[in-house]
Point group: C3
Chain length 209, copies 3
């Protein structure tokens, strides 16, 4: 991050959106306020943290604590927002798709700029985009939603692939990232509006537990 | 750690207390003996391990395996202790409050001595103090207790804040740490004795899952 | 890894076996295809990843993406394999025992070659061998199987101990590793065939939650 003002701003908006998503899940599970802030934090920065630790990079929010402040402010405004009216489900899903688009492509960009092969760029796109939501669900005692249904990480992977290919085809940096983000956002948006899911993998219960 | 003999000793006592807390949770879940030792280990050193990995520091128990030995000895004595009588709930809660006080302030001290801003000192206080118990509950298939009720991480944060402010006001090191620990211990003790919890964040079930 | 062609090959076979084990668990939980691949990946490389992060080593699959390809190929062939007939439970358990043997000893070898004390060699053997399966169960919303029953991590520890002692007694490297693997495999095999478990740690429910 930091390569470009607009990207940094998008990234902070993504953090705010994911923090709200964490607060919503926490609220449904009747966590206390502190627990909700923890879940919001893990949702918002968990993916990027895992990416940085795996890549041996300094963890991004230790370098730029503004990420934590954005989470705290989002969490503080959350009850205000809630008391006004019931959360508009579709608006939240679309905001979440936006966060996914930004995070997965910034994750892909970090891996790509280290010269890693495409498969690792895709892994980092998926991890940065989806691991926060996965950790959120684990903390809240649920099987992670992204493992069970919907084109979610698949959208992150597809956008990461488009970005990585554009980069190899000499499309210059911010442009390739924006196109990648648009791919993630569109694919995820289509999945939401059509309620389109990947096929499930089902195995008949065998005789062992 | 290692700056001071008394602090190192307190830290080892905290490890023993948290290991016992892990054994107790494991026992309620009917884990096997090995599983109980794993849960005890994760409870006792999980928070500090996460802190060191995030900060890019060498993991403390790889430098000083005595932490692992303390866990093994605590685990070995645990059945003896159990067979004598039912675990005294209040004594365990107070011992746990002691462990929380020591861990959160040692975590805050590591971050503070790296010159990190206060918000990161507080994050490290909370993480070092509370992440072990959080991982314990995840391993045991429960929504982490600290997310649901009671002044727990809040006490860690308050003590970390007091410590960090004292340090900035030139109170010398071991003294500032002891005062921070006392704050954590007292706040947590009051929460236990009054059964005082943070308000819950509740959201009516919306129409989506 | 990479010290020796045969060991590297065994390691890749272990990855394939663990990936299949992840697919099986995912299938029982009715995850979607993408989720199943995530669970397969975490099962296959989670233990080694945690080991490398704790030791401050570069993460192995970032150095050698072939590990990820082996997982993808295993996942791709999995449905073919399933459609033919019901998975043969015992064959899977034995394959899993093989993976455990390879992973735990390669984990022990990494720690041993850094000159770490034996207790840390054993921790790394257990972690590399068993953490993948533990993460698999957490992702799938279950209390990890290895915490609840069966000689599993115990076999990893015993094999790691044999390997570490042989190394200290000047048995040369690949031989000591093979003997360690044989110990893990045999112990685990005996546990499977005899259905022999460690005693459970049980605590009567106390008055607190």
């Amino acid at each position: 991050m930091g390569y470009c003002g607009i990207l940094s701003f998008l990234d902070l908006v993504g953090v705010a959106v994911f923090a709200i998503s964490g607060m919503l899940t926490a609220g449904r599970k009747k966590l206390d306020i502190f627990g909700a802030v923890v879940v919001a934090t893990v949702t918002a920065i968990g993916g990027g943290t895992l990416r940085d630790m795996l890549l041996g990079e300094p963890v991004f929010w230790l370098q730029k604590p503004i990420y934590l402040w954005v989470i705290l402010v989002s969490a503080a405004f959350f009850p205000v927002f809630l008391h006004q009216k019931k959360p508009p489900t579709r608006a939240i899903l679309i905001a979440d798709a936006f966060g996914l688009a930004v995070f997965s492509i910034t994750g892909a960009a970090v891996a790509n700029q280290k010269g890693l092969p495409i498969i690792l760029v895709l892994v980092m796109a998926i991890m940065t985009g989806a691991a926060g939501g996965l950790l959120r669900d684990i903390l809240c005692g649920e099987i992670p939603l992204i493992l069970r249904r919907e084109i979610y990480a698949t959208a992150a992977m597809a956008g990461g692939l488009v970005y990585a290919l554009l980069d190899r085809w000499k499309v210059s940096f911010p442009a390739s990232a924006y196109i990648g983000m648009a791919v993630v956002f569109l694919l995820r948006g289509i999945a939401i509006s059509r309620n389109f899911n990947l096929p499930r993998l089902t195995i008949a219960d065998s005789d062992e537990k």
